[in-house]
Amino acid sequence: MDATNIEKLITMPKKVLKAPPKDFKQDNQHLRKDFTLQSTEGDLQFSAFIRRHIDFQENFSIGLDFHPAGEKEIPLIRCNGNHGEVVENLLKPNPHLDYHIHILKTEDIEQEIRKLSLEGITKEYDSLEKALQYFIKRVNIQNINDYFDLNPMLFNNL
């Protein structure tokens, strides 16, 4: 899988297949919501998750996994909050401290370790609700309004 195919998987139009629960569920010290997606063409299967720490609201992650038929899932992208330092090169770290995005890179596939790498810091969002809006747009979920009320006021009540 090359970068073009990875980007195609991330951006291909998708629809929510299994509706997420209305409310976030508390699990240990975080809130969570999980839902499944399917490409509008080709019936490819995906899953998505939202996590947010209960006390540290800047600690969140929204992710998309691809589920190839009969194989283990492959993480494609995660939109993270400003939870702490992040580096691109583990051995020659040049730390960043900001909202950032992890993405699957070709070398990750080649190593078959199913990890993500740092795509970069981002100014696309600075909160969970804006990150979710960005994520929905980037991964191209078309019927999201049937399942999510993206009114920021709702997130403030978390």
């Binding site: 010290q29 209960i54 992650s61 583990l90």
Partner: protein, 265 residues
């Protein structure tokens, strides 16, 4: 050697810091990273005369992106990891309280533990699945010993590739038990059962099968999600009984075998 030591001491001095996350909660800035580049999230906060090194539940939150602690085996491994390093768990918050004199080594141990927990998803095949068979064996050899189970039974003497994990065979019609912890073993189970079933249609083996390979089969899954839907379907189409979780087998396996043997006797 002195040169290397000096380099390490010099570099380590420059590589540790603290950032105030919240009042009296300090995030440790230290070059230990997860594989995706995120720094390990560790905090220090004063607790009386001690310091508490903790993660505020962020290790388990991170783990939940790709892995669930949703079986007793997984919880057991998780608890073994943290207790081995004297780490406490309070509603997902991993922590250790330590005197000031031992703060640095405790911090290093804590980070090591966090990384081990974070990599639990990599243990799935190597550790957790092998534990499943250990637990299955322990349960059968103790709780089901009264049925005289025979481990690693070969119904077809000249075909060792068709192994039954356990045979409860002291009655006329034996019960074959297969442990299944993944698609590979499920397929093996299917192949074994299909092979025996297929033999029923082979005239040359009919007498042998009727006399020697009449059996009931049951499969015990480590968990239902260890199989994809197609493998679940394959398994359920050939097995007489499927226990979808090891827990379920622990609860009702004894009663089921007793009932089956009673019916078959």
């Amino acid at each position: 050697m002195k040169e290397i030591l000096a380099l390490l001491q010099q570099q380590s001095n420059q590589k540790i810091g603290l950032r105030e996350k919240r009042p009296n909660i300090w995030q440790v800035i230290i070059p230990f990273y997860h594989e995706d580049g995120d720094m390990v999230e560790v905090f220090i906060t004063p607790v009386g005369s001690l310091y508490r090194i903790c993660d505020y539940g962020l290790t388990l939150m991170r783990l939940s992106y790709s892995y669930e602690l949703d079986t007793p085996n997984k919880e057991r491994i998780f608890n073994t990891i943290i207790s081995s390093y004297n780490i406490q768990n309070e509603k997902g918050n991993l922590y250790i309280d330590i005197e000031t004199d031992h703060l640095y080594p405790a911090l290093m141990q804590f980070i090591g533990t966090v990384l081990k927990v974070s990599n639990m998803r990599l243990y799935k095949r190597e550790v957790i699945q092998s534990l499943f068979f250990e637990m299955l064996d322990e349960f059968i050899q103790t709780q089901l010993a009264k049925y005289q189970p025979q481990k690693d039974y070969y119904p077809l003497p000249n075909m060792p590739e068709y192994k039954v994990d356990y045979c409860f065979n002291h009655r006329k019609v034996p019960i074959y038990l297969f442990g299944v912890n993944g698609a590979a073993t499920a397929r093996l189970t299917v192949i074994s059962c299909q092979k025996a079933t297929a033999r029923l249609t082979v005239i040359s083996c009919q007498k042998f099968i009727i006399e020697k390979i009449k059996f009931r089969s049951m499969s015990v899954l480590e968990s239902l999600d260890c199989l994809g839907k197609k493998d679940q379907s394959r398994l359920m189409s050939v097995a007489d009984k499927v226990f979808p979780e090891f827990n379920e087998f622990e609860k009702t396996g004894d009663e089921y075998i007793a009932r089956e043997l009673d019916l078959l006797s």
